[in-house]
């Protein structure tokens, strides 16, 4: 079964024109997919449709085989596809971390003893064990966002949707969150990450570019990031390393195509120096 199956999806907000049109997208279990696009490309709307916060105008969204159009499925969809939002301040409901993490499991009626276990599990998954009794408002942005992820993990989801969850963080916080998400993905979590930081897309299995409500590019990062001109047309830049590699290539250095990652570039440059 696919984790996500979107078929011929159209969506428009009330009285507006289509925000998304003709979206077809399949994500298999355990995949790490990055959705890229400039502001207004419809990427956040797509995230909301996957989580059942919005319902399609036409077409269908199926999460783990459950159609979001059926009201009785919504609860189960949200349980299995957890969503982390952009603003770390607007996602916690309680003044103590532990109470906040309990919120999700409480909502779905988990037994008390198990809630305690789930809180411990969620905190260890995001590396925040020692903050169980802390106050979220006193944590850093990155820590708050990790707590938000933990709050979703406490529901034991199989898919994580990140709606620009690193957009409001400083570089350190962004690195914290990204590494937590990567770790989760390694352990089998399906991840759909919406971002406009190219460097975050580098590690994903697949990159999808949205523009004006349509999927305009799709492929593995190496392929997508080699099409810099096309990306620029959709208002996106290639990752820094890809950009540098391209410039070096243009200036006559023999750097292989398909380098878009800091480490790979470093290696290529080192080899060049060794050759003299």
């Amino acid at each position: 079964m696919n984790a996500l199956e979107i078929k011929n999806l159209d969506f428009a907000y009330e009285g507006g024109k289509n925000v998304l049109s003709g979206i077809n997208l399949t994500v298999s279990e355990g995949e790490f997919v990055c959705l890229l696009g400039r502001n207004g490309s419809g990427k956040s709307t797509l995230a909301r449709l996957i989580n059942g916060l919005l319902l399609p105008a036409r077409g269908s969204v199926c999460v783990f085989g459950m159609d979001s159009a059926e009201k009785k499925n919504l609860f189960e969809i949200r349980k299995r596809a957890g969503m982390v939002f952009q603003n770390p301040d607007n996602q916690t409901v309680a003044s103590i971390v532990e109470d906040d993490l309990a919120f999700g499991p409480e909502n779905v009626g988990v037994e008390r003893a198990e809630i305690g276990e789930r809180i411990s599990y969620a905190l260890s998954a995001v590396g925040m064990e020692e903050f169980r009794y802390a106050t979220p408002s006193k944590l850093s942005g990155g820590q708050k966002q990790r707590i938000a992820i933990a709050g979703v993990l406490a529901l034991k989801p199989d898919m994580l949707i990140l709606d620009e969850s690193t957009a409001m963080l400083d570089p350190k916080g962004r690195a914290e969150v990204t590494s937590v998400v990567r770790e989760l993905n390694k352990n089998g979590m399906t991840v759909i990450s919406i971002t406009h930081y190219m460097d975050e897309a580098v590690d994903s299995d697949r990159v999808i570019v949205l523009s004006e409500g349509k999927i305009v590019m799709q492929g593995v990062p190496a392929e997508i990031f080699s099409r810099a001109e096309e990306l620029a047309r959709y208002g996106l830049n290639v990752p820094k390393a890809a950009y540098i590699a391209k410039k070096l290539r243009e200036n006559g250095l023999p750097i292989a195509e398909g380098i878009y990652e800091g480490e790979a570039l470093e290696k290529a440059l080192c080899e060049l120096f060794q050759k003299g």
Binding site: N87, D89, D99, G104, E106, N107, G109, E111, R112, G151
Partner: protein
């Protein structure tokens, strides 16, 4: 910085009183308030004062912090005392005299009963505030919310939204520091654009607050909407089918507290019977 303002006046410690069940503490405070009004004579305050002192000692809250709470109602105490002092209107009113001059002027007169009443009222008010502030000093706002929710539970049968009310309260508490921070930010932003909050008369100053309040309100609504989405996606669907992680448990401390309160009540009733006069 606004952010540093601590909300409520909770004094963190792990004392006997801190560890009591918030429900029992709330009920004890209600009982305490009733006791204050039951008392008819000065001597009747004795058991209550002993009870109060004992509680404060057990709570390990500095006495200074407890008494600081009186500052807020000082004006009220003085006002009540002055009224009682000058306007005792009983039939047994006996105007006091100093060196042959009666202390009476126009409608004001100082009587012996007036002085006694003023002292009695002041003591009553001060004890009232002192007692209730022990509750807020030893109980976190979260625990208070839990306690209130639990105590109001019977109201569910008349369709009163107890769970929703408690959730609203705890979310409000949770957002206080966030909104404080935001206010700070807006104030600074407006100041950097030349806004003046410090000069002019009161109306001018109130008017100067508008450019702070409007952005604050707008952002609060936006936050509310986002929080709503976040709650939805974490499967929130009201009180139905919900479990609770935190359970309040009563222990020996609560039993002792209730026992002490019963003792105080007995003492007050006995004193009221044997010493029915105020002095």
């Amino acid at each position: 910085m606004l952010k540093d303002v601590t909300f409520g006046q909770y004094y963190p410690a792990k004392s006997f009183v801190h560890r009591m069940d918030p429900r029992v503490k709330i009920l004890l405070v209600i009982a305490y308030i009733v006791f204050v009004f039951l008392i008819k004579s000065f001597i009747g305050f004795l058991p209550l004062i002993v009870f109060f002192s004992f509680t404060v000692a057990l709570s390990r809250v500095p006495v200074g912090s407890v008494f600081r709470s009186v500052k807020g109602i000082l004006f009220l105490v003085i006002f009540a005392a002055v009224l009682n002092l000058f306007f005792y209107g009983g039939n047994d009113a006996k105007v006091l005299e100093i060196a042959g001059y009666p202390l009476k002027w126009w409608i004001f007169s100082v009587t012996e009963q007036g002085i006694i009443n003023a002292a009695f009222m002041s003591l009553r008010l001060v004890l009232l505030v002192l007692g209730t502030c022990v509750l807020t000093l030893t109980t976190t706002p979260m625990d208070l919310t839990e306690g209130i929710e639990s105590l109001l539970k019977p109201l569910k049968y008349i369709k009163f939204p107890v769970h929703e009310l408690a959730l609203i309260m705890s979310i409000a508490l949770r957002f206080i520091p966030t909104l404080m921070e935001e206010t700070d930010r807006i104030v600074n932003a407006q100041k950097s654009r030349g806004a003046d909050f410090e000069s002019g008369n009161i109306f001018r100053r109130i008017k100067a607050m508008v450019p702070i309040l409007i952005p604050l309100l707008v952002s609060a609504f936006r936050r509310a909407e986002e929080l709503g989405d976040a709650m939805d996606s974490r499967c929130y669907s009201g009180a139905k089918g919900r479990t609770k992680y935190k359970v309040l448990r009563m222990g020996y401390r609560d039993l002792l507290g209730a026992f002490a309160a019963a003792l105080v009540l007995t003492a007050i009733i006995l004193i009221n019977i044997y010493f029915p006069h105020i002095v």
